[in-house]
Symmetry: C2
Subunit: 110 residues, 2 copies
Amino acid sequence: MSMDVDPARERLLELRASIDNLDAALIHVLAERFRCTKAVGKLKAENNMPPADPAREQQQIARLRRLADEANLDPDFAEKLLTFIAREVIRHHEAIAEAHAAPAGRGAKA
Amino acid sequence: MSMDVDPARERLLELRASIDNLDAALIHVLAERFRCTKAVGKLKAENNMPPADPAREQQQIARLRRLADEANLDPDFAEKLLTFIAREVIRHHEAIAEAHAAPAGRGAKA
């Protein structure tokens, strides 16, 4: 039973419980973010708006780096993470644009 | 002034405001997660616990994939994201282990 009262092991399990809660939060915040970016993709496809907006992207990166710095998070990591998420957003937008552009009668409904 | 009343443009700005809020949430949840994983790294270094725990990692991946699926998020994306974050965690842990192992008098204090 010594494992049960090992204080280091107990502290490890406490920290892991926090990590698990934070991971669930991350997943749900990300799910909501993708709901928003998918709505942006649909809006742009339906209104012939340009898919990319370099000025907006630069603002987002600068803001995230500042927020990361304030939260004691490596700004380079935050920027790399945004790039990682943005790649998934582009994948979604391409699928939305394709569905929007597909001829009628092939299951497309934008 | 037509840009100001373009409903598509207005909707785009609304969605972007939500995305900006969610990004701030992501940054702060991640900052707290790294605080926890850094505490894990310190705890393990101080107690000679093995840095890796493959069983825990498998449980984390399976749980995150399930949570992602429930939140309508691609489970493959969620797993790739966890891997991306885990690489940063390993980088922190290596730094913590190095600081812990460094000889006294060279600024190391674990």
